[in-house]
C-alpha cells in the first residue's frame, strides 16, 4: 500500500529554467519598453487635438482630417513611384559595384570603393544645391553650357522634376546600398562560384544565378531598407519637388509638423501609411526566408577570391569611373566651390568668391562645444548602437526564446516615423517616467539613445542578414568545447560580423552627426550638436555656412576613418 502510494506520488516540479535566459529576457523586456512605450505614447497623443498648453481634447478628428485630404492620394502615388524607381536603379548599381569590388579583378578597385564610400558621406542637402547649381533650368551651368554650345532654345535639363529628384538621390542611395551589401559579398565562399564556373557558367551567369540568390537575405534586407528610406525621404523632395508641385507623403508630414500650431496628430496618422507598408514588408520578408538556408560561412574554411573579368576589366572600370565622376565628383566639386561663393551658384553678385563662410563657422563661439557633443554623440551611438543591434540580431536569429518575433517587429518600427516624431515620443517618455529617468533629459546620452532607436531598423536588419550567413556549426563547436553562449557570441559571432558591424557603426556615426529632427526636442543649449548649429545657419538663410559644416563633417569622418585604418580596421584585417 505504502509502496503504491509512494509510486503514484509526484512532487510538484517547477518548470525547468535555463538561467542564462534571465538576462536575455530582461534585455528583451527593456527593449520592448524602449521602443514600444514612446511609440504607444505617440499613438495615444495622436488622438489629442488641443494645442500645446491647453487642456487635452480627445478626438479622432486629426486622423480623419489627415486622410480626408484630397491631395493625399496623389502624394502617396508620387511617394511610391519615386521610391520604386530609385530602388530598382540603385539595387542594380549597388549589386554591380559590390560584386565588382569584392569578387572581380577590376582595376582601381580601391579607388572605386573609396569614392563610393565618399558618396555616402556627402551631405545630401548641400549636394542637392550643387546639382541645382549645375542643372537649374534658368541658370544651371551645364544647361547654360549646352545651350550655348548647341544653340538650344530651351534648357535640356530641369532639376525641378521627377527625374531631377531621382537623379539627385542616386549617388547617395547607391553608396549606402553598396556599403550595406559589400560585407555580405566579402563573406561569401568562392567555392560556390567556382562550382558554377566549372559547370560552364560565365561571369554574369555566376552573378545572377549563384551570387545574388545566395546573398538574398542581404540583398532583400538592403532593398527593403532602401525602399523604406526612399518612402521617407524628405530633403531633396522639399527642395526640388515643391517648386515643381511634386508633393510626397513626407512633405505632407513635414507640413503638419511645421504648422503653427504643429499638427502632430495628423503627422502621426500619416505615418500609419509607412507602418502598414513596413508590416507588409516584414511579412513578405519572413515568407521569403522561411525554411531556407543562406549560410555561406561555415566551420570549414572558405575562399575569398577574385575572378578575372578578362577583356571586360577596363570597360567595367570605365563604367565605374564614369558613374563616380558624374554622380559624385561633379556635384562634390560644385559643392566645394559653392562654399567659397558669397551665394551658392550665383555668379551675378559684385563679390562672387569669399572665404568668409569658412572663417565664420570656425569662429562661431559655440562651434567647439557643438563639435565635442557631436563626437560624443556619434561615437556613443556608433559603438553602443552597433553592439546593441548585434545582440538583437543574435537573439532574433540564434535563440528560440519567446518574444523574439516581437523584438524583430519592433526593431523595424522606428522607420515608420520621421525623426522629429521619434524625438517627440522620447521627450514625452523620458519626462513622464519618474525622477531617475528624467535625469537623462538635457544630456548627450539621451541624444545617443534617440539615434540608436532611429537607426535600429538599418543596423539590426543588416547585421541580421550577416548573422544568417554564419552557420550554426561554429557555435555548436564552441559549445562542445565547453564555452558558454556568451563566450561563443563574443569569440565567434562578433569577429565574423565585424565587417557588417563596422559598416553599420559608420552609418550610425554619420547619421548622428547630421541628424537634425531626431534630436531637436531633446537637445538643450549644453547638448547642442553641429547639426543643430547647421539649423541656426539655415534659419538665417545662410545655406553656405551650413554647407561648410556639411563638408567639415565629411572631412572629420574621413579623418576618423583614417585613424581607424591606422588602428587596424583595414578591410584586409576585418576580412580575417
Amino acid at each position: 500500500m505504502e509502496l503504491t502510494r509512494r509510486s503514484t506520488f509526484r512532487p510538484f516540479q517547477f518548470p525547468k529554467i535555463e538561467w542564462s535566459w534571465i538576462p536575455v529576457s530582461l534585455f528583451v523586456g527593456l527593449l520592448v519598453l524602449l521602443l514600444a512605450y514612446p511609440l504607444a505614447l505617440l499613438l495615444i497623443k495622436s488622438f489629442v487635438i488641443s494645442r500645446p498648453g491647453q487642456a487635452n481634447v480627445w478626438s479622432i478628428r486629426g486622423w480623419v482630417e489627415a486622410f480626408a485630404d484630397p491631395n493625399l492620394a496623389l502624394a502617396i502615388g508620387n511617394t511610391f513611384y519615386l521610391a520604386f524607381v530609385r530602388v530598382v536603379v540603385t539595387t542594380i548599381l549597388a549589386i554591380f559595384f559590390a560584386w565588382l569590388v569584392t569578387r572581380t579583378d577590376v582595376p582601381l578597385k580601391g579607388f572605386i570603393e573609396l569614392t563610393l564610400w565618399l558618396g555616402f558621406f556627402l551631405p545630401l542637402l548641400p549636394m542637392t544645391m550643387g546639382w541645382i547649381m549645375l542643372l537649374d533650368p534658368y541658370n544651371g551651368l551645364i544647361n547654360k553650357g549646352l545651350m550655348t554650345l548647341f544653340g538650344l532654345a530651351k534648357p535640356p535639363f530641369d532639376i525641378y522634376s521627377y527625374s531631377g529628384i531621382i537623379w539627385c538621390h542616386i549617388a547617395f542611395s547607391t553608396s549606402v546600398r553598396f556599403l550595406l551589401l559589400t560585407p555580405a559579398f566579402i563573406a561569401m565562399d568562392a567555392a560556390l562560384e567556382d562550382a558554377a564556373r566549372a559547370s560552364g557558367s560565365n561571369n554574369m551567369g555566376v552573378l545572377m544565378r549563384i551570387t545574388v540568390p545566395i546573398l538574398a537575405p542581404a540583398v532583400l534586407a538592403s532593398t527593403a531598407l532602401g525602399f523604406i528610406r526612399s518612402l521617407e525621404s524628405l530633403e531633396i523632395e522639399m527642395v526640388l519637388g515643391i517648386p515643381a508641385g511634386i508633393y510626397v507623403v513626407p512633405t505632407k508630414i513635414w507640413d503638419y509638423i511645421h504648422w503653427e500650431p504643429p499638427l502632430y496628430e495628423r503627422a502621426t496618422a500619416l505615418c500609419s501609411i509607412f507602418l502598414g507598408f513596413i508590416v507588409l514588408l516584414i511579412w513578405l520578408h519572413r515568407i521569403f526566408l522561411r525554411g531556407k538556408e543562406f549560410t555561406t560561412v561555415s566551420g570549414r574554411s572558405y575562399l575569398v577570391r577574385t575572378f578575372s573579368l578578362g577583356r571586360w576589366r577596363w570597360f567595367a572600370c570605365g563604367i565605374s569611373l564614369l558613374f563616380i565622376g558624374l554622380m559624385i565628383v561633379l556635384p562634390l566639386m560644385a559643392l566645394m566651390a559653392g562654399t567659397f561663393m558669397e551665394f551658392f551658384g550665383n555668379f551675378g553678385t559684385e563679390k562672387v568668391w569669399t572665404v568668409h563662410h569658412w572663417t565664420a563657422v570656425f569662429a562661431d563661439p559655440v562651434f567647439l562645444r557643438a563639435l565635442r557633443n557631436t563626437l560624443v554623440l556619434g561615437l556613443g551611438a556608433g559603438v553602443v548602437g552597433t553592439l546593441l543591434y548585434s545582440l538583437i540580431s543574435y537573439i532574433i536569429v540564434r535563440t528560440g526564446m519567446a518574444g523574439r518575433s516581437v523584438v524583430d517587429i519592433l526593431s523595424w518600427l522606428p522607420w515608420a516615423l520621421p525623426g522629429v516624431l521619434i524625438s517627440l515620443a522620447l521627450l514625452w517618455a523620458v519626462l513622464g517616467s519618474g525622477e531617475y529617468v528624467k535625469l537623462l533629459y538635457g544630456t548627450v546620452a539621451l541624444l545617443v539613445l534617440a539615434i540608436i532607436i532611429k537607426e535600429m531598423p538599418l543596423g539590426t536588419q543588416i547585421i541580421k542578414a550577416s548573422t544568417l550567413q554564419i552557420s550554426n556549426e561554429l557555435e555548436e563547436a564552441s559549445s562542445t568545447a565547453g564555452a558558454s553562449r556568451l563566450i561563443g557570441f563574443l569569440r565567434i559571432m562578433l569577429p565574423l560580423l565585424r565587417p557588417s558591424m563596422v559598416a553599420v557603426g559608420i552609418i550610425v556615426f554619420i547619421s548622428a552627426a547630421r541628424d537634425i529632427p531626431t534630436v531637436i526636442f531633446l537637445a538643450t543649449n549644453q547638448s547642442r550638436t553641429l547639426s543643430l548649429l547647421m539649423l541656426d545657419y539655415i534659419a538665417d538663410a545662410n545655406q553656405e555656412k551650413a554647407a561648410v559644416l556639411g563638408v567639415f563633417l565629411v572631412l572629420l569622418i574621413f579623418a576618423l576613418l583614417f585613424i581607424g585604418w591606422l588602428l587596424g580596421l583595414r578591410r584586409s584585417v576585418v576580412r580575417s
Binding site: 494645442r51 513622464g432 526636442f521
Partner: protein, 377 residues
Amino acid sequence: MRSRLTFARIGFLLLGSFLLTPFAAKTLFAQASDQGWQQKWDAALKQAKTEGKVVVMGPPGDRIRDAITQNFAKAFPDIGLEFSGARGGELATKIKAERDASIYSVDVLISGTSTADAYFKPMKALDPIEPALILPEVINPKSWRDNRLEFSDRDTRMDLVFSTQNNVPLIFNPAQVKAEEVDELYKVLDPKWKGKIAVQDPIPSGTGNGVFRWLWHVLGPEKAKDFYQKLRAQAGAIDRDQRRQIEWVAQGKYPLNFAPGTVMYQLEKRGLKFGVIPHFKDYGAYLTPGFGSAMLMNQAPHPNGAKVFLNWLLGKEGQTAFSRGMGYVSRRTDVSSDHVPAYWIPKPGVKYWAGYYEEDAKMSPEQVKFLKSIYGR
C-alpha cells in the same frame, strides 16, 4: 504794526510752503524712488550672480544668438547666458512637456507675438513682465515710442513688444520691373505679370500669413477673397523658402516676389540686389515686431537673472545690440535706426496696420478655409 507784519510774514510763509509742497514732495519722492530702484537693482544683480546664469529661449538663428549672448556677456560677465533657439511650435511643445514633468528650465522667452498668444498664455506659463522691470530708463514711458510700453496683449500685459518695423509687401528685379509699375496693390494683378510672381505661401505662420491677414483687414473679406484668387492665378510659384524666392528675384527668374521674408535684410547685406516696394501707395503696409517681443516665464529657475536680462535687453544698450544684430527698429526713442534698412522704418503719412495685437494675431476660420481651398497643397 509789528503784529500786522508778523501776520503778513506768517501768511507769506504759509502760502510759500503751500505752493512749494508739491515740488518738495516730488523731489523727496524722486530721491526715495531713486534709492528704491537702485536698491532693487543692486539686490537683483547680487542674487543673479549667485544664481549664476539666465536661460533664454528664442527663435533659431545665429544672428539673434550672437546679438544677445555676446553683448550680454560684455555687460554682465559674471552671469552666464544660455540661449537656445527653436520655432514657436517646437518651443511650446518642449516647454509644455517640461512643465508637465515639473521641470522649469526657462527664464525668458524672446519670440514673435503669435507665440505668446497662441501657446504660452493658454499654457499659463507667463508672469506679468512689468514687476521685473527695475531700471528707470526701461520703465519710463518717455523712453518708448508713443509714450508707452507696448504689449501684444493689452489687457494682461505679459508680452512686451520692443520693436516694430514695416513689413515689406513686395520686392522686384530692377532690370525687369520699374517701381512705379507695381507701387499700388492692384497693379500686381496686371496681366503682364501673369506667371512672373513668386508668392510666399500664406498658410503657415510667417511673413506670407501676416501680409494676407493685413489684406483681409484693409480690403474686407469679400475684396480680399477676390484678390487672393486673382493673385493665385497670377503666381508663377507658391513657395515657403524665403531665401530661394528672393534669390529668384535677384537673378531674374521671377521679376516679383509677393510677401518676401525678413531674410531679405541679411541677403541684401551680403550683396543680393533687388528693388523694394516698402508699402503700397493705396493701401500702405503693416507693422510687425518680427521676433521683437519678450516674455517672463513663471516659476523661472533664475528669477533675478531674468530681471537683470530683461532690464538689459529693454534698456538702451540691449536694444541697440538687438537692433544692430537683427536690423530691427527698436521702440525705444533713444536707439538709433541708422543701421536699419530704410524700407523697414515706418514713414510718416503712410497707412500702417499694427497686426500684432492679440485680437488680430490669427486668421479667422473663414479666412483659413478659403486660403486652403486655393493655396493648399
